[in-house]
């Protein structure tokens, strides 16, 4: 599993308003260059400290609602709303790693393959 702690209040879902937002700054993570390198236990290409300087994802424009859904096999239930999303992200791998790199996204170019937000209960809360 890949995951990291996000600061209190960084994620917001407004079911009634049909939107959600994630706003984080200065999140430390790793630059591993390519996915196979992340799966390689030896990380042959190396691992370098990096930072997401800022990232804002906005979910809106509900196109499909799945309300009162329940999946006993996977033990989760909830209300889910498929929609579109946009992302603005700025990330840096510092020069002192020897792999200095900075990426600045253009939010206008965002194409959503799939996006949704919702509320759910799973596992022991199913």
């Amino acid at each position: 599993m890949w995951g990291s702690s996000f600061p209190t209040g960084s994620g917001r879902v407004d079911i009634g308003g049909g939107s959600a937002e994630l706003l984080v700054q200065n999140i430390c993570l790793f630059d591993v260059f390519i996915v196979p390198n992340s799966f390689d236990p030896n990380h042959a290409l190396g691992i370098f400290g990096a930072v997401i300087n800022s990232m804002k994802i906005e979910w809106s424009g509900v196109t499909r609602s799945v309300v009162g859904f329940s999946d006993a096999t996977n033990k989760f239930r909830g209300d889910f709303f498929e929609c579109s999303a946009t992302i603005a992200v700025s990330a840096t791998t510092p020069k002192d790693t020897g792999h200095g790199f900075h990426f600045e996204s253009d939010p206008a170019t965002t194409h959503t393959n799939f996006a949704q937000f919702g509320s759910e209960h799973n596992g022991v809360f199913f």
């Binding site: 599993m1 890949w2 995951g3 990291s4 702690s5 996000f6 209190t8 209040g9 960084s10 994620g11 879902v13 079911i15 994630l22 984080v24 993570l29 790793f30 630059d31 260059f33 390519i34 996915v35 992340s38 691992i47 990096a50 994802i57 799945v66 999946d71 096999t73 996977n74 033990k75 989760f76 909830g78 889910f80 946009t86 992302i87 791998t93 020069k95 020897g98 792999h99 200095g100 790199f101 900075h102 990426f103 600045e104 253009d106 170019t109 965002t110 194409h111 959503t112 393959n113 996006a115 949704q116 937000f117 919702g118 509320s119 759910e120 209960h121 799973n122 596992g123 022991v124 809360f125």
Partner: protein
Amino acid sequence: MDEKNSESRQRLQQKLLSRRNLIRRAAGTAAGAGLLLGSVVPMSARTDDEGEGDGSMCKAVPRPIPHITTPPGQHFFFPGPVDASAATSPNAGHDPSIITDFKGVVANADMVFSGTGTDLNTGASAKYDFHADMRFMRGVFVGLDNEQHSGTIGFI
């Protein structure tokens, strides 16, 4: 041109690829190398414990969902409709959360976008494409310590 600059420049010519994109390519043919900036080194998800103070030295660790998507052999479903068919879409859709014993709100997005990448050693810039699977879960969960916690988990 020294070796380090050459390597950096070579990387700059490569594209940012998401974990999902590259996983899918790798499953088919040998994929070209990409450049990935993300928390893709397996690590335990830990939270801020919103109700228990932000100064805790040992953050709560949630449990992953039981499902394992292979490849890459990790506990998550690829993004997709929650009501996807288990027969035709066993690894995409279904539970968007990566943690179990959880109740709260969740959002995920599978996006393709572009931007400008700059080699900080040479100053050279180029357009990069990025395919990303981003998620967050905010709410209450039972952690590995069997205690109930609250927090926000991000999946980058």
